[in-house]
């Protein structure tokens, strides 16, 4: 049972990590916590579902079109909502993300209705791999693989590409970045686009693991946020580690201590981390110079 709990925990933790990553990308650049992240992912997943269900295109094509939609959705939100805010404070921007979240939730309910759907994913959700006596379902296995690959690509992107470095520069000092010729407004839009893509990937995986419906991201988003806090809201590797740890802790807690309190472990962790190491496990403590 122990091994099985770890494997299941890793699979769900990978999804938390992806969502946390999407939030952290935004947070690193603008210090805004995007509470619309879950619903942006949910709407993108519904778009993927519509493409697959209505047009019967191959999954990879549908996923690509969905990522394109996610890019447009991220840029649209940044330009039409956030950029228009007058004298924006971080708190004000966070409230705008909350408003956008409600708009998207209402839109999804109106457009696709409240019924649950099964998301057509090319990997079976019941077939399993037997790895050394440990059963791991194909969908769990591929969820972990896809998440790790995506995180690795993002890590390389931020570390080695000019655009990634420009994004980091904009986060560290927007004024200096502008002086150095970086178009910070475009960088911000691009950040929202990338975050939206990562969220869409998480949404499709979460829908494939469970069911697709408008409230499907409520719980994962909160857990993703907890993963970010645990790993460090400014550290990309931290979110991956945070997601994995959270998924495993939750499962072990539910398996050996109490199922009823399983879902509150994430929030206990948030409180604990904020008390002991507010910057998270892998992020450096941020000291504001005065």
């Amino acid at each position: 049972m122990f091994g099985q709990l770890i494997v299941s925990g890793l699979a769900v933790g990978a999804c938390y990590a992806l969502l946390a990553l999407a939030m952290v990308i935004i947070y690193k650049t603008s210090e805004v916590l995007n509470f619309a992240q879950g619903e942006m992912a949910m709407v993108s997943t519904f778009v993927a579902f519509t493409i697959l269900d209505a047009y019967h295109v191959p999954f990879l094509w549908a996923a690509s079109l969905t990522f394109l939609f996610a890019i447009l959705l991220g840029i649209f939100f940044e330009i039409v909502f956030l950029r228009q805010a007058k004298d924006p404070t971080v708190l004000g921007l966070i409230i705008i993300t909350l408003g956008f979240e409600m708009i998207l939730m209402g839109f999804a309910g109106w457009k696709w209705g409240p019924d649950q759907r099964s998301f057509p994913f090319p990997v079976s959700n019941v077939e399993t791999y037997d790895i050394g006596g440990l059963l791991i379902s194909k969908i769990n296995f591929w969820t972990i693989v896809i998440s790790v690959v995506l995180m690795f690509i993002l890590f390389l992107f931020f570390r080695y590409t000019k655009l990634g470095i420009a994004m980091r520069a904009t986060q560290q000092n927007p004024l200096a970045a502008r002086v150095m010729g970086i178009r910070t407004k475009w960088i911000l839009s691009f950040t929202w686009a990338i975050s939206s893509i990562v969220g869409a990937a998480a949404g499709m995986l979460i829908a494939a693991l469970g069911v697709l419906d408008p409230p499907m991201m409520m719980d994962p988003l909160l857990k993703g946020f907890a993963s970010g806090v645990l790993g460090g809201m400014t550290s990309l590797p931290g979110t991956a580690v945070g997601g994995a740890i959270l998924g495993i802790i939750e499962n072990l807690f539910g398996g050996y201590i109490s199922l009823a309190f399983k879902s509150v472990v994430a929030f206990a962790i948030i409180v604990l981390v904020l008390c002991i190491k507010p910057s998270g496990l892998l992020a450096k403590h941020y000291v504001k110079k005065v």
């Binding site: 049972m1 469970g210 409230p215």
Partner: protein, 396 residues
């Protein structure tokens, strides 16, 4: 002269007062010469949204009755409100129904916790309430004059379902997967009551919170219990998730569930076919039934609500409303809460497309429990139902 004018004025004022008092007394909330206002809440959004189809099904019956000319010269105006399965919203909706809209009655209403926040308020305001869409004891104990329950009691339903699994199908190791609230707990109550009677222990009792989305640990606990059969008392989302999680780890017991999950077309779709083999109890005719009323409703559905899927959750909204309209018919043109209640108490084994309904003057809680029957069916691989039994009385 002044004296005469004073007397005249006094008489005029008194007459006006008396007439206006009489007029107010005659006025019944939510009933006019041409209309009767009724309301229902139901989750149109949120995790329990598939059950929201119930409230839309009632809307279809209202439209059908209006199309047929109404009842005793009055047509119905139906107010549907989304409470997202959140009790706080339900209470606000109940207040809106009474204080702003002024409905004559509430029909249906999904959710135990949701309904419980509204029950006392509706009863204090003497609002007739027909058919809460749950089967818990709270609707009939303490006895409420204005509340008529329809849904068969979960406790009795679970008791009999466990008996069916044990006695007819021979399962001895039975586990329970349930939603951690009154809905799930009254299912557990019935299962444990039966097993206690047979001196058998439940091999596992695993609960899920409404917001849970990761049920992998729950699935492992069920598998490790070694259960041969698992009874589930959850909402559709959790049912789909637990079937997927147990399938992933190769755990394939005989599943059985309440009529709350009897929309097999929806369940087959969201479980990607894992719903096949499920033993379900049913409290209404099957979707493709040839019952004359079902044929009639299906035809109207095509005309009036073609955008809706004709499934059990949808036409359950008709099942919960039919007895209310029968009560209005029997009450006659002089419709008041009292005449409606008296009319409802004349229903004896009255049947629409749901279970036989009977009520009596409220001397015992069961006098307000209308539905006492279910039947069992097994979901075939194509999603259709193989009927296993006829209607059975589960509440004695």
């Amino acid at each position: 002269m002044i004296k005469r004018v004073s007397v005249f004025l006094c008489v005029a004022i008194l007459s006006t007062f008396l007439l206006s008092t009489q007029s107010s007394a005659q006025k019944v909330r939510g009933v006019t010469d041409t209309e009767i206002l009724i309301g229902q809440w139901g989750p149109q959004t949120g995790p329990a949204a598939p059950w929201g189809a119930v409230a839309r099904g009632t809307d279809l019956l209202v439209k059908i009755i209006n199309e047929e000319g109404g009842i005793h010269g009055r047509k119905f105006k139906y107010f549907l409100r989304d409470d997202s399965y959140q009790p706080a919203k339900t209470k606000a909706i109940a207040k809106e129904f009474v204080e702003q809209i002024g409905v004559f009655a509430v029909v249906g209403g999904v959710g135990v916790a949701c309904g419980m926040t509204a029950r006392d308020y509706l009863m204090e305001n003497k609002v007739p309430w027909c058919g809460p869409v749950t089967g818990v004891y709270e609707w009939i104990t303490p006895i409420q004059k204005y509340l008529f329950a329809i849904y068969p009691l979960y406790d009795d339903e679970a008791f009999n379902l466990t008996g069916y699994l044990h006695e007819k199908l021979g399962y001895k190791k039975i586990a329970m997967f349930y939603q951690n609230d009154d809905y799930g707990k009254q299912g557990v109550m019935g299962v444990e009551r039966y097993l206690l009677k047979k001196k058998i222990s439940l091999v596992a009792k695993v609960s899920a919170e409404v917001t849970d989305r990761d049920l992998s640990t729950h699935a492992l606990k069920l598998k490790n219990s070694g259960a041969e059969a698992v009874i589930m008392w959850t909402m559709p989302t959790h049912a789909a998730l637990i079937l997927a999680e147990t399938a992933k780890i190769g755990f394939k017991p005989q599943w059985a569930t309440s009529n709350t999950l009897s929309d097999s077309a929806l369940m087959m779709q969201i479980t990607k076919g894992l719903w096949a083999g499920m033993i379900n109890s049913f409290f209404g005719e099957l979707p493709d039934s040839n019952h004359p009323l079902m044929v009639k409703y299906r035809e109207w559905h095509k005309k009036l609500a073609p955008q809706e899927r004709w499934g059990v959750f949808y036409y359950a909204g008709i099942i919960f409303a039919e007895p209310f309209f029968e009560g209005v018919r029997r009450a006659g043109r002089n419709l008041t809460p009292e005449t409606w209640i008296s009319a409802m108490e004349t229903l004896k084994n009255w049947q629409g497309i749901g279970p036989p309904i009977s009520y009596s003057k409220p001397n015992h809680p069961m006098d307000r429990q209308g539905g006492k029957h279910v039947f069992y069916g097994k979901v075939k691989p194509d999603g259709n139902i193989q009927r296993l039994t006829d209607w059975m009385q589960i509440t004695k």
